[in-house]
């Protein structure tokens, strides 16, 4: 299988502090790739640099064959790269349904003329998206809160909305920044099941997570990041057995 997303020599610094010092790794199509590393290793910064929030100072990011380094987020989303955030974010006054609708791509109704004339193309797309949004909400068990503003949701439900709206964009690849952090174990389990189902549906996933049991269960391969560099990459048990990883991550040496 070929690499869907490849990061080569990516560097990024803020005010002289070098956060990413040449990150190299590739995500193969169809995998759930785990990204682990101690706090401050640069995992979220790496996501930010890939997804267009920050412009990397050096290196390249390839999506398939295309160089996407430094493209703005909305252009990346249109190419099939979607991300979620560590702290679930949302548009406070918009409902769950509106969140889901918003993430649909190719919306003819988002041009002034089509919106005002309510063109047939925009109505048709709206109808299709609406069916998809209702289906997505049902699948994530958000059906009963679909008209609630997201501020009225629980922390776990917000995480589910993050996943749901990422799905609405029909992504090729989703970057998930700790989707299970801060949710109760049974919901974490439910989210894990959703991720497996998505992956079986053909979506490539890159997952930042600290829970090693979840990483072990979900991810192959696992990439370890430490001090802004890729340390090792491999199957979970290989990585876990690596002495360097144990030192960087667990701070212990056998």
């Amino acid at each position: 299988m070929s690499a869907l997303l490849a990061v080569r020599g990516l560097t990024l610094g803020f005010y002289g502090a070098q956060i990413l010092r040449g990150v190299d790794f590739a995500i193969k199509e169809g995998t759930i790739t785990g990204l682990i590393g101690p706090n401050g290793a640069g995992k979220s910064t790496l996501f930010n640099a890939i997804s267009g929030l920050y412009r990397p100072s050096g290196g390249t990011v390839l999506l398939g064959e295309d160089d996407i380094t430094g493209l703005k987020p909305h252009l990346l989303v249109r190419r099939g790269l979607v991300r979620t955030f560590q702290l679930a974010r949302g548009f406070p006054k918009l409902s769950v349904f509106q969140h889901l609708m918003l993430y649909g791509l190719d919306q003819p109704g988002e041009t002034l003329a089509a919106a005002l004339l309510s063109s047939p193309a925009s109505r048709k797309r709206e109808q299709a998206l609406s069916e998809k949004a209702l289906e997505t909400a049902r699948r994530l068990r958000l059906g009963h809160v679909i008209d609630n503003p997201v501020t009225a949701l629980s922390g776990g439900q917000k995480k589910l909305v993050e996943i749901g709206r990422a799905l609405m964009a029909d992504p090729k690849i989703i970057l998930l920044d700790e989707p299970m952090a801060g949710v109760n174990p049974s919901l974490a389990d439910e989210i894990a099941e959703h991720l497996i189902a998505l992956n079986n549906g053909g979506i490539t996933i890159c997952l930042i997570e600290h829970d090693m049991a979840l990483i072990k269960r979900l991810c192959d391969p696992v990439v370890v990041l430490a001090e802004g560099k890729t340390l090792v990459e491999g199957r979970f048990d290989e990585v876990a057995a690596d002495a360097e990883v144990q030192e960087a991550y667990l701070g212990t040496r056998r």
Binding site: P73, R89, L94, E110, L112, D147, P149
Partner: protein
């Protein structure tokens, strides 16, 4: 009394257009335009000058819309890196620049003397009273049309994307929305509506001068939109009529409170406006007609 009522309702309609303009940009996409009165002035002068040069009134109004839209485009493209307070400061300055240009470029605007004798459409045919009634109907019809258009926009996918940008523009980018594109368009449309309001005002008064375009008008419109309901076009319209009604009503209070001298009363009026705003924000912060969440269709 009837003539006065017609006058007040016409001004109310013009304020309603300004409120619709502000609600689109502030309530819709979250940009604070403290220079609303500047676009209002641009429209008024544009139409006054164009019709003064011999063009028909409708061309003047069209010109006012175009001039407003172009000014809106220039402002957003010049301030793409600014948001919130910084954009507000720039727009506040812009309105003052426009007023000062109107005051000082005598060759174009006749300075502080203003432009008088602006064509009042059909006035010779309808007579004074007839013209005032005609103009009230005309302004009210324009308010109705603009309201319907903006309400439609508000409920469309376009409106949904605008509200997302208002709530969190960074996240809207991650939802695939071209934030700058939406902002530029929304600002241009909003400025065009303010320009049209200015043109309607100029031909109603038959006279414009820089004094007509004080920053206080922008504040009144913010008051109207905040009181009516930010983010809902009908709220802005209602708020504008309420504000004009309130402002006009306070004119009659000196008769009821003879203890106050007229000069004292002028100052009291401003105080009353401020108190009204505070009361609304305290007891009904969401406005008279709050923003609604449209329910999802049933599957």
């Amino acid at each position: 009394m009837l003539a006065y009522l017609i006058f007040a309702l016409t001004i109310g309609g013009i304020y309603a257009l300004l409120a619709l303009s502000l609600n689109l940009i502030w309530g819709g996409i979250g940009l604070v335009n403290l220079g609303l009165v500047g676009f209002f002035a641009l429209g008024a002068y544009a139409s006054a000058l164009l019709t003064g040069a011999g063009l028909p009134v409708l061309f003047g109004w069209g010109g006012a819309i175009i001039v407003g839209a172009i000014a809106g485009l220039i402002v957003t493209l010049a301030t793409t890196r600014l948001r919130d307070d910084y954009l507000a400061i720039v727009t506040l300055g812009l309105a003052e620049v426009i007023r000062l240009v109107a005051l000082n470029e005598r060759w174009l605007t006749n300075g502080s003397d203003g432009i008088s004798g602006i064509q009042a459409p059909l006035k010779s045919a309808l007579g004074n009273q007839g013209f005032n009634i005609f103009y009230l109907v005309l302004v009210s019809a324009v308010v109705l049309v603009v309201w319907l258009v903006l309400r439609r926009l508000d409920r469309s996918p376009y409106g949904r994307a605008m509200k997302a940008i208002r709530e969190d523009q960074e996240l809207a980018g991650f939802a695939g929305k071209n934030v700058l594109g939406f902002k530029v368009q929304a600002f241009a449309v909003s400025a065009a509506i303010a320009g049209l309001a200015g043109a309607l005002y100029a031909h109603f008064q038959s006279y414009v001068s820089p004094d007509h375009f004080q920053p206080l008008i922008t504040i009144y419109i913010f008051l109207a939109v905040a009181a009516g309901g930010v983010g809902r076009p009908a709220g802005g319209v209602l708020g504008a009529y309420v504000v004009v009604f309130f402002l006009e009503l306070t004119r009659f209070l000196p008769d009821l409170v003879p203890a106050l001298a007229p000069a004292q009363f002028a100052a009291c009026r401003e105080i009353l406006v401020g108190v009204a705003l505070i009361l609304v924000l305290r007891f009904r912060p969401q406005g008279l007609l709050p923003e609604q969440i449209l329910p999802a269709p049933k599957s």
